[in-house]
């Protein structure tokens, strides 16, 4: 046994290095497990505070406490990272010393070999080969067993053969939605599936012979400026605050609230919405439906699709949306396309885009960037010049896109200011408003920049800044915020008549056959004859404040007031019982 001082010193060094490594390891392991048990993701303290904040969103001291706790977590995290780095280098040094000392000590103790002859080498060689073959077979079995375990431990839900694959691919929503799934055009026309009706024109397919009376009214549980949409016996509206955003479904026959569903836990959406501007609130965009599902978008960018029974089909986060007054452009549907005009930015384009989603799945069919800042107008879809076109408005461009792939068809630089009124298609013209300055009729058959060639006529008289126009092919009607109703010729834009309604107006007018239906902000409901002669057919006062535009469906008129949802019908009947 070598017991030289050098050997003893090397052994001692190796022991010290080993003990040092263990000590450093112990400290680091303790830090590791402590960090693992205090995961900031799951901190009960932080979660409790967040829940409390959800209940008291304006609690400033609570917000400060959360921020302080968050900062503390981050400091601890950084500190631990620095500790780990230092510890790693210390361990590296300790391990180096350990290996060098132990290696040198082993070399000092090395005994010189004294090989012996092998008289039975031949037999040993045969045995060795035999044993090697058996052990190789053993390796093969171990490999086979391991692969079998891997196979059995990883079950797949994907198809095993091509036929089932094809079936799955066909079901994945790859192609256009099955024809049987989409309602026919007459169903769309009979209902009110989006802002201002199936085509966004504000005109209903039926006529109202008499001034309607209130059939029922029903309380609205959450604030919002969105207009009602109607499909069959269901009326839908959205509402909400910075804390909770919901969809409400009413029975169109009696106003009973059938269900309300919150759009929540949207992947990617912040837990708390930043304060929505007071003007638009959280629920200014009007919902849309394709007759199979209803869709709602809110100012924070949460978008959801619900079945008619209120179950969530899918949700998607499109935010945050940079809009100085709050996002308000409504959704549009056409076939299986759900269209979202997501214009953003105060003075210049900041991520503005037009998005087409497949309604059934929520997957993006296409997406196009737009060179415009925030706008509040809702797009419409028209059939013109052999194309299905999407017409969009924003400062300064009117831009038309193809529905199929989102390619741009034409554009015209005609708009200025904050574009709120939506376009309509009437009499072969696309009617657009440059708020407060110009009403223009465009021919939708151009390509490229049609600023100089596409305008059929324009007028600067009594141009609204909020309400959208409405037309019947022969005449165009507008109403300003101050209540000035004006009739223009659809072919030349010449003013035919004008009248002051003595009421302020936020809602866009509607057309019920021969009646122009105008809803004043403070409840004045005025009907004018939709003709060349000015004639007020009726006027009544409703007990509410109205910002949303009316919906006309199945012989009824649905109005969203600030406090109640109203249904007007041809005969005055007893109010429905409040649900």
């Amino acid at each position: 046994m070598n017991t030289s001082p050098l050997h003893r010193a090397l052994i001692l060094t190796a022991w010290i290095a080993g003990a040092f490594c263990l000590l450093v390891c112990g400290v680091m392991v303790y830090g590791h497990f402590e960090a693992a048990t205090n995961d900031p993701w799951k901190s009960p303290q932080l979660l409790a505070l967040r829940e409390k904040l959800a209940a008291e969103p304006k609690n400033q001291p609570l917000q400060k406490e959360i921020r302080q706790l968050d900062l503390e977590f981050r400091r601890n995290f950084r500190h631990r990272l620095a500790m780990d780095k230092t510890g790693a280098w210390l361990l590296l040094g300790g391990t180096l010393a350990l290996v060098l000392a132990a290696g040198k000590a082993a070399a000092l103790k090395k005994t010189l070999p004294l090989p012996q002859p092998k008289p039975d080498a031949g037999e040993q060689s045969i045995k060795l080969a035999s044993r090697a073959r058996w052990s190789l077979a053993g390796v093969g079995l171990v490999v086979a067993g391991s692969l079998l375990i891997i196979r059995l431990g990883n079950t797949s839900v994907l198809p095993a053969n091509q036929a089932v694959w094809q079936k799955l691919l066909g079901r994945s929503g790859a192609q256009e939605a099955p024809v049987g799934d989409a309602p026919v055009l007459s169903e769309f026309q009979a209902n009110w599936p989006r802002f201002r009706g199936w085509d966004g024109s504000g005109a209903a397919a039926w006529d109202s012979k008499t001034m309607p009376g209130i059939l029922w009214r029903s309380a609205i549980p959450a604030p919002g400026h969105s207009s009602p949409i109607v499909w069959g016996d269901r009326v839908f509206i959205s509402g909400g605050t910075a804390d909770r955003r919901e969809v409400f479904c009413y029975n169109a026959a009696n106003g009973a609230l059938l269900w309300q569903r919150a759009i929540e836990n949207v992947p990617g959406s912040p837990l708390k919405m930043s304060e929505a501007p007071e003007d638009a609130g959280c629920a200014a965009p009007t919902m849309a439906t394709d007759g199979r599902r209803v869709y709602a978008i809110f100012a924070n960018g949460d978008l959801g699709a619900l079945n008619f029974d209120g179950s969530v089909v899918w949700t998607k986060y499109l935010g945050p949306i940079k809009n100085p007054y709050g996002y308000a452009a409504s959704l549009a549907v056409w076939g299986n396309h759900l269209l979202i005009q997501l214009d953003q930015g105060e003075t210049r384009a900041e991520g503005s885009k037009l998005i087409s989603l497949q309604g059934a799945s929520g997957r993006v069919l296409w997406e196009r960037s737009r060179p415009v800042p925030a706008s509040w107008a809702t797009p419409i879809v028209i059939e013109a010049a052999g194309q299905t076109q999407i017409i969009t408005l924003a400062d300064p461009w009117v831009i038309a896109y193809t529905l199929a792939d989102g390619n741009e068809l034409w554009r015209a630089q005609l708009l200025e200011n904050e574009v709120v009124p939506s376009p309509v298609f009437a009499g072969g013209f696309v009617l657009v408003l440059s708020p407060g300055s110009k009403l223009m009729a465009l021919r939708p058959d151009g390509t490229g920049d049609v600023t100089k060639t596409g305008v059929a006529w324009a007028t600067e008289e009594n141009v609204p800044d909020i309400a959208s126009p409405v037309g019947n092919g022969e005449l165009v009607f507008t109403v300003t915020s101050g209540g000035m109703a004006t009739c223009f010729g659809a072919n030349d834009g010449k003013k035919i008549w004008e009248t002051n309604l003595d009421t302020e107006v936020q809602a866009s007018p509607g057309l019920l056959g021969g009646r122009l239906f105008i809803l004043g902000e403070y409840g004045a409901l005025v009907t004018l004859q939709a003709g060349r002669e000015l004639h007020e057919m009726g006027r009544t006062q409703l007990p509410d404040k109205f910002d949303a535009s009316p919906a006309f469906a199945n012989g009824h008129v649905f109005l969203r007031g600030v406090t109640n949802l109203y249904c007007l019908g041809p005969a005055v009947v007893k109010l429905a019982k409040q649900p």
Binding site: I11, A14, W15, G18, C21, L22, V24, C25, M28, G31, A35, W41, F73, R74, R80, G87, A88, L91, T95, L98, V99, A102, G103, A105, A106, K109, P113, P115, K118, G122, S125, L128, A129, R131, A132, S135, L136, V139, V143, L147, I150, G153, N154, S156, V157, L158, W165, L169, S172, N265, P267, G268, P270, K272, S274, W314, K316, P320, R363, V364
Partner: protein, 438 residues
């Protein structure tokens, strides 16, 4: 005592690796209310081209020096310093990439993916050591491979692995090579690189599994010479094949073999082979011939069985591909929806999948088809390797002297100075008949 010290050292290494894992833990992003968007992750710029060529130049120079040190200088000390340089340069400076071990994956990926062009430098890294091995054996393993150098560094007291076990385990690198190539060919990823146990050391970061595996290899490497090189390295498998037919081979003795067996004791890698016994007893000869015939007949059966079994592995193997895994999760989500409240990676990936399920499922279908083919080939490859090795183990070698196994020898030059004739040549001891001995 030494054993205990080794245990402590190994424990330290393992814990070091485990703790490195913490450094990679992610911290949740804040909930910004100001509309601030987190910047998206960006990929670092590629290494400048001239530097890539410089790396290839360093590799070629190191290979040349290694060959010179093995065959001309016969210097273990020189190879040790070259190893240290390689460990520093290819390991810690270049962080183990690009390295010849993973480069066959680039080649296969390039062959299977027309959109990918294999860089010239990768071709050099892949083929230069193989070409050198065709002439001079495993010079790359001897002094240029950083993984090998790291294992050499921690080798304290080697013990011999039984030869029968060594022979059986020598097929494992080929199986790993096969798995690595099918995953590269299908575009799943470079699993040979991902599961290289030493690269996390060079980069000072890595996943828990691979760091633990690295620690285990280093622990074993204290008493078993270069366990990764011998029993797992897929590139070592290629070099082993090339070395079998190399023009020159490492010779222990500069003169005639004295049959002293000292070289056998000096090799920590179990590569030294003793002379084959002269003649065969008649009672064994018939049985050996019969066995060889059966094994030759078994070879195609093993390949066919491997192809069949491999094709059954396809659904599981394909799940390592991100697109297939996403399709699996998407399909599961459709049948058993899970509501994700937080912005977790799982929720975000499903969000992306929902945007285009057809693309996700179509890609998965295509990949599953490719995996069917690849796994069949892999299974056949396993059968071929095992069958071929069984045949090789049934063929008698013809050696008259102690000499290194041409495939297994890492050309580390340790055996040179163990040979009495070499020591005489170097003047380290007097020759037989020298008056100094009398």
């Amino acid at each position: 005592m030494l054993r205990r010290l080794k245990f402590i050292g190994a424990l330290g290494v393992m814990l070091l690796l485990a703790l490195m894992v913490c450094a990679g833990q992610r911290f949740p992003p804040p909930d910004f209310e100001s509309g601030y968007r987190l910047p998206s992750a960006s990929t670092p710029a590629a290494r400048q081209l001239w530097l890539q060529y410089a790396d290839a130049g360093v590799l070629l120079a190191a290979l040349g020096i290694a060959v010179w040190l093995i065959y001309r200088k016969r210097s273990r000390r020189g190879l040790f310093w070259l190893s240290l340089f390689s460990l520093a340069y290819f390991g810690f400076y270049r962080k183990g990439c690009v390295c010849p071990i993973g480069s066959p994956q680039n080649i296969v990926y390039g062959l299977c993916n027309p959109d990918y062009t294999v860089p010239v430098t990768v071709l050099i890294f892949c083929f230069a050591p193989i070409v050198v091995a065709l002439f001079a054996g495993r010079a790359f393993c001897a002094g240029v491979c950083p993984q090998g150098a790291l294992q050499d560094f921690v080798l304290i007291k080697p013990v011999a692995v039984p030869l029968w076990l060594e022979q059986a385990l020598s097929v494992v690198p080929y199986l790993f090579l096969g798995a690595g190539l099918i995953y590269a060919g299908t575009g799943t990823g470079f699993v040979i690189c991902r599961y290289d146990p030493f690269v996390p050391f060079f980069r000072l970061s890595g996943g828990l599994f691979i760091l633990t595996a690295g620690a285990a290899f280093l622990l074993a490497g204290m008493v078993v010479g270069r366990p990764y090189c011998r029993f797992l390295c897929p590139y070592g498998g290629l070099l082993r094949l090339a070395s079998l037919v190399s023009k020159w081979r490492v010779r222990v003795t500069p003169d005639s073999c004295t049959q002293c067996r000292l070289c056998e004791q000096s090799c920590p890698f179990g590569a030294m082979r003793e002379p084959a016994p002269s003649g065969t007893h008649p009672k064994w000869l018939g049985a050996e011939r019969k066995r060889l015939g059966w094994l030759l007949a078994l070879l195609p059966a093993l390949v066919a069985a491997g192809v069949w079994a491999g094709s059954k592995l396809s659904p599981a193997a394909a799940q390592l591909h991100p697109a297939v895994a996403l399709a699996e999760r998407y399909t599961r989500q459709q049948s058993h929806p899970i509501q994700y409240g937080l912005m977790t990676p799982e929720a975000l990936s499903l969000e992306r999948a929902a945007e285009d399920p057809k693309a996700v499922l179509t890609a998965a279908a295509d990949l599953r088809h490719r995996f069917d083919l690849a796994c069949g080939l892999f299974g056949g490859w396993i059968g071929l390797v095992i069958g071929f090795k069984l045949v090789a183990l049934s063929v008698r070698p013809s050696r008259t002297d102690f000499e290194p196994d041409r495939g297994a020898c890492l050309a580390c030059a340790r055996c040179f100075t163990a040979c009495p004739n070499e020591r005489v040549r170097l003047g380290l001891m007097p020759a037989a008949g020298d008056p100094a001995l009398s």
